[in-house]
């Protein structure tokens, strides 16, 4: 008798983070007011953009006869370019993202998911297609896509540090990698290089906890990674502070450098700061054309 009940409650527990994630993301997305979003250039689309004199390359079918009849030249009606962009997200779901130094601030994974989802909502509203890397969720449009994205993002991965999956990225599409980038750099580098090879540009958003930035420890301490695979013991944690900060800065510089080389953008977000600023930055990074 208890089995269906247990199943139900487990299912509910599993589904519980999803609506909350969606709600948070929608809430966050609603704080961004969409400004100019059209491509502001002629292209394939439905809405009128401009009349232009017909070129030799234009087929006779494309000539707008109603306009041409009012003058001697032949005119072609340009539509505004409305080709939808594909934006693929990779959000680090590894154990290290679950770190949360204070009950009052979000965990890194929550922040990452909320920001990514909110950006996806905004992009969907802008008419783009969004999806997840790694062939998990091909880019599509529509509300259902958001639900599916939220479902997939709500899962947690077992690995200690995540590495981006670069498969499934369409050529010349856009990509967003959200992670703490504290793990091994080689996969990150590889993924970025592969993306650059395909002409994919995008944004790297590094999410860090304030404690990871400040390293406020002292005394004899055993540091363990969230999954417990890495372990480091020190007798005087306070002495490590400067060296830790050096290393962190070095890591950030390297990411920044990588981004510049591959035509990506990079920014660090701290979980104790409002997520809106990160979202805005992310959205504008998507808008920017190189």
């Amino acid at each position: 008798m208890s089995q269906p009940l247990a199943l139900r409650s487990e299912a509910e527990a599993l589904a519980a983070p999803m609506p909350a994630l969606l709600a948070q993301a929608e809430h966050l997305a609603s704080t961004v007011i969409l400004g100019e979003h059209g491509r502001r250039r002629a292209g394939v689309g439905d809405t009128f953009w401009q009349y232009r004199p017909a070129q030799a390359s234009d087929t006779a079918r494309s000539i707008d006869w109603r306009r041409s009849a009012r003058s001697d030249a032949a005119f072609v009606q340009d539509k505004e370019w409305q080709i939808a962009q594909s934006v693929l997200f990779w959000v680090d779901q590894s154990a290290s993202m679950r770190f949360q130094s204070d009950a009052n601030i979000q965990s890194k994974s929550t922040a990452a998911r909320v920001i990514a989802l909110a950006a996806a909502i905004l992009l969907l509203q802008g008419g783009e297609r969004v999806g997840l890397t790694g062939l998990r969720l091909p880019p599509k449009r529509g509300e259902a896509q958001i639900r599916q994205m939220a479902e997939q993002l709500a899962e947690d991965a077992e690995v200690d540090y995540g590495s981006p999956e670069a498969q499934g990225m369409l050529p010349h599409s856009r990509a967003v990698f959200v992670s703490d980038f504290l793990g091994d750099m080689a996969p990150i580098e590889g993924a970025l290089m592969r993306a650059a090879d395909r002409g994919v540009s995008g944004a790297l958003l590094q999410i860090l906890d304030p404690q990871e930035e400040a390293f406020p420890f002292d005394g004899r301490t055993v540091f363990e990674s969230m999954g417990g695979t890495l372990r480091h013991e020190t007798l005087k944690a306070g002495d490590l502070k400067t060296r830790y900060e050096d290393r962190l800065r070095e890591r950030k510089d390297r990411l920044d450098h990588l981004a510049k080389v591959t035509g990506w953008q990079f920014r660090t977000h701290h979980t104790d700061r409002p997520a809106t600023s990160a979202l805005l930055w992310l959205y504008q990074a998507m808008e920017r054309r190189n």
Binding site: S96, M97, F99, S101, D102, K108, Y161, D180, L182, G183, D209, Q211, E212, F215, P216, F217, D218, G219, R220, T221, V222, F223, E224, S225, M226, L230, R231, H232, E233, T234, L235, K236, A237, G238, D239, L240, R243, Y244, R247, L248, R251
Partner: protein
């Protein structure tokens, strides 16, 4: 016990534990503090970093020292350190602790109890059996018990207001078993019984006496000598000049006990007795109930007065008027002689005498009285007066009491009277017959030489026989008496001078007057007089000089009172019987006090030796404190004070260190806030909504006052009547809600103080829309419950000329949100009069402490933060008018609180102007 300097240890071998400290030092030093495990994703960046130095895995030396000290304090604490250990000889065997337990002990009884406690502690430590007793309260058998059991009975040991009885002591000493050591807490007074006891005790073991050199005072009974009261006190004749204050205490005319007279007694150096005579008006003297040495706590410092000091007031009046005659022929001469030593005599006219309400009035040969004098006299007799009349030529010649009985004569009289034994008459002068048993004179010896030569004669009558209290040998009534109301009328059928009889010349005359309670009995009691009588204790004294109601105690045999010596059967106090009082005092007129002297063989110690202090608790507390510091310090060293938990620790520390100051600062802030300006207060009811409305209402009223008057109040303050000081607020608004709890007893005390000292409370039941006074709304019931214990004067509905109607605005109505007229204020005094030509009565005193109504003023006054009205009042323009009147009522009320009744004084303006014009 193993003493080091002033400190001894109960279990010194525990101190060996201190040897282990160095080992502990090494151990602690070798063990580094345990690491903290932290989950931290940034560890990936840490991999490969090494520590600079490797020394910090050792505990820092100061932390080690701290721990060493904690451990050392614990070890020392458990070793039982004692400051000033008592080094009594470790005697064994039974121990007898005796206290004199007399009134002289009472003054420092606590010190004695503490000393005994210390002795018992010693005995407990040494495991000696102890017997503890007081010499004034000897047990039937003396049991030696364990000291801890005896210590439990220590509170039962109380001093008694008498001295040990010698024969009882001797009986007791014979019952004592075996040998024992003795500790004797002496009261410092010499006593005959001491020597014998001491001999016996010394024979059985060592004797130690505890005695402090000091003076003991005793107050002797005050005596009445030649119209003065002689107050005397005695002391142990050591020491210098001293002055002790003695007060006479009695009831004042209102029946309240207070100090009537104060007198200082000066002792000269080495002198045991000090005396001083004081003159006290009879009126005052008769009210004195006791003398006390001020500030001395002992039964000996109190001397109760009995009838000895009381003197009866006797009025003497002669019918002869102011005839010029020889003193010896004056009808009142013998009476004066007889009464003067023991009674206060009053002369004057009859009406003056009646005003003085004397105990007895003597009318000598007084025949006719004016009718109002008769009435007054009769009334006085009926109220308990004693009227004594003497016959004489006038009475014999008058027509009073011939045909019917005169109310002021006990019998009817025959015309003329008779004279016997004279030259012109038959028979011999008659002697007195022995007094009958029913007569008040029964028992008095009749001298042979008393002869009666003339008298008035009573008319035979059915009631005559019962009224005769003395008769002549031939059976002729000589003295007759009848009861009138509560008093009585007595007629001596002879004259008060020696004209008709030799009775006034004899000692019998004085005794007869005494028996009739015309004069006071002398204080000394005649032998055998009290035999077989029973006396009831009225008040009894305890050893500390406190008076207790003695009416629950059994009566005592009169023979004990003849030569009173206080004891268990006869407690000092006041005994009544036979309509007189006898005081039994600890100190009598002959008591002499002397300091007890002890032979050299006896060790004499003072009472207060250096106090033994157990330091165990202190050491253990220090150890705990050090360990607590160690906890914080180890956390700090281990890095646990930083990071996530640091704020909690800091908050805890701050809480521990700052709480008291914070509370104090808050209290100060409240007081400053309330006193730096006029502040209207409202009582916090506990209902948040009501409190908000009260605040908003008073805010609106404050603003109105600010705009319209010179009163410029600060923001209103909520007052918690349980905790806050009320005295800062001239005015409190108290909304009543049905579910309000009753204030605590302390809060009631504060409220009553507040009301008495001029504060005003406006009770607002806010129910005038659906209830008027008389009908009971839930709010009204709550108000009644709350006000029941408050000190509220009589109330009345606000009269038309109450000063509230004109303190600022002229008002006749006092509406709030509702416009009920049921407003209650303190009732005007009943004698307030409407002066002619004045619109108001003269009501000049006091501000009404409460105003009670149900018009929900707060809602009418209420404004929100930006000044908007919060609640509608009435409808349209009428409603606005009503709100305006509500504000005016508020202004008038605060004006009334702050300025009192000066507007009421305006009624005097014409008078003042007229006076200025002159």
């Amino acid at each position: 016990m193993w003493p080091i300097g002033p400190i001894g240890f109960l279990s010194p071998w525990l101190l060996l534990g201190l040897l282990a400290l160095p080992i502990l030092w090494i151990l602690l030093r070798a063990v580094p503090p345990a690491p903290i495990r932290r989950r931290f994703p940034g560890v990936a960046l840490l991999i490969g970093l090494t520590d600079d130095e490797s020394q910090t895995d050792r505990t820092p030396w100061w932390l080690l020292l701290l721990r060493m000290m904690a451990v050392a304090a614990a070890i020392i604490g458990f070793a039982g350190p004692v400051l000033n250990p008592q080094n009594q000889e470790t005697g064994d065997g039974p121990l007898l602790i005796i206290a004199d337990g007399t009134w002289a002990d009472a003054r420092d009884w606590n010190a004695r109890i503490e000393r005994i406690d210390a002795l018992l502690n010693d005995a407990a430590r040494q495991g000696r059996p102890v017997a503890l007793l007081s010499l004034t309260d000897l047990p039937e058998t003396t049991l030696f018990q364990s000291a801890s059991a005896v210590a439990q009975t220590l509170p039962n040991l109380q001093p008694n207001p008498w001295e040990p009885a010698e024969d009882a002591l001797f009986d007791w000493i014979n019952t004592l078993p075996g040998d024992f050591d003795t500790y004797w807490l002496s009261d410092g007074l010499a006593r005959k019984s001491r020597d014998l006891l001491l001999t016996d005790f010394e024979a059985r073991g060592s004797v130690t006496v505890f005695q402090t050199p000091r003076q003991t005072f005793g107050l002797r009974p005050a005596r009445f000598v030649d119209g003065e009261i002689l107050v005397s006190a005695t002391r142990t004749p050591i020491g210098n000049d001293t002055t002790i204050p003695v007060v006479a205490i009695g009831l004042d005319p209102a029946g309240v006990e207070r100090q009537l007279v104060t007198v200082d007694l000066d002792f000269t150096a080495g002198e045991p007795v000090a005396e001083r005579a004081i003159v006290v008006p009879p009126e005052l003297r008769n009210r004195i109930t006791r003398f006390e040495i001020d500030g001395v706590r002992s039964a000996a410092a109190i001397s109760l007065t009995d009838d000895a000091l009381k003197r009866r007031e006797v009025a003497l009046l002669s019918g002869a008027g102011d005839q010029e005659q020889l003193d010896l022929l004056d009808p009142l001469f013998y009476l004066r002689e007889a009464l003067e030593p023991t009674a206060d005599l009053i002369d004057g006219t009859l009406s003056d005498m009646l005003l003085a309400n004397p105990d007895a009035i003597v009318l000598a040969d007084f025949a006719t009285l004016a009718s109002d004098e008769t009435e007054g006299l009769l009334e006085w007799v009926e109220n308990g007066g004693l009227l004594v009349r003497f016959a004489g030529p006038r009475l014999a010649a008058s027509e009073i009491g011939r045909s019917d009985e005169d109310p002021l004569l006990p019998v009817r009289l025959r015309q003329g009277g008779r004279s016997i034994g004279g030259t012109m008459s038959w028979g011999e002068p008659k002697a007195l017959a022995p007094f009958a048993e029913t007569s008040p004179f029964f028992g008095l010896q009749v001298p042979d030489d008393v002869e009666v030569t003339a008298q008035v004669v009573a008319q035979p009558d059915p009631t005559l026989a019962s009224r005769v209290i003395a008769q002549l040998a031939d059976g002729t009534p000589l003295v007759t008496r009848k009861q009138v109301g509560e008093g009585s009328v007595i007629l001596f059928h002879v004259t008060a001078n020696a004209e008709w009889s030799s009775l006034p010349l004899s000692g019998l005359f004085v005794q007869m007057l005494e028996r009739l309670a015309i004069s006071t009995r002398p204080s000394d009691i005649e032998a055998g007089e009290l035999e077989g009588t029973t006396w009831l204790p009225e008040d009894v004294l305890d050893a500390f000089g406190r008076l207790y109601d003695g009416r629950t105690l059994a009566g005592v045999d009169g023979s004990l009172l003849e030569n009173p010596s206080p004891g268990p059967e006869l407690q000092p106090g006041l005994y009544s019987g036979n309509d007189r009082l006898i005081a039994v005092n600890v100190i009598d007129a002959e008591t002499a006090l002397a300091t007890a002297q002890w032979p050299n063989s006896v060790t004499v110690e003072g009472l207060d030796v250096s106090e033994e202090t157990d330091l165990k608790g202190w050491f253990l507390a220090a150890a705990t404190l050090l360990l607590a510091i160690d906890v914080i310090a180890s956390l700090a060293v281990g890095g646990r004070l930083r990071g996530p938990r640091a704020d909690i620790t800091a908050a805890l520390l701050a809480l521990v260190l700052l709480t008291p100051q914070w509370a104090e600062a808050q209290e100060d802030e409240f007081a400053l806030n309330a006193t730096s300006n006029v502040v209207l207060g409202y009582v916090l009811t506990g209902d948040e909504h009501t409190d908000e409305i009260s605040e908003a209402g008073l805010r609106g009223l404050s603003r109105t006052l600010f705009q319209r008057t010179t009163i410029e109040p600060s923001a209103p303050v909520g007052v918690n009547i349980e905790t806050d000081e009320l005295a800062f607020f001239p005015f409190l608004y108290w909304p009543i809600t049905p579910d309000q709890g009753l204030p605590s007893r302390e809060a009631y005390g504060k409220l009553n103080r507040y009301l008495r000292s001029g504060g005003m409370i406006l009770f607002d039941t806010g129910d005038a829309d659906n209830a008027s006074f008389g009908s009971s709304s839930p709010e009204g019931r709550t108000l009644r419950a709350i006000a029941r214990t408050l000190d509220i004067p009589a109330l009345e509905p606000i009269p038309q000329d109450h000063v509230l109607t004109r303190t600022f605005y002229l008002l006749q109505d006092f509406p709030g949100r509702y416009a009920s007229r049921d407003i209650w204020v303190e009732a005007a005094p009943a004698d307030a009069e409407l002066a002619e030509g004045m619109p108001f009565r003269n009501l000049n005193d006091g501000v009404t402490p409460v105003v009670i109504g149900g018009n929900d003023w707060a809602r009418a006054w209420a404004i929100d933060d930006v000044g908007n009205r919060m609640f509608p009042v009435g409808r349209g323009r009428t409603g606005e008018r009503q709100r305006e009147l509500a504000y005016r009522f508020g202004v008038n009320l605060i004006m009334h609180v702050l300025t009192g009744n000066y507007k009421s004084d305006q009624v005097h303006v014409p008078d003042l102007l007229e006076r200025l014009g002159q």
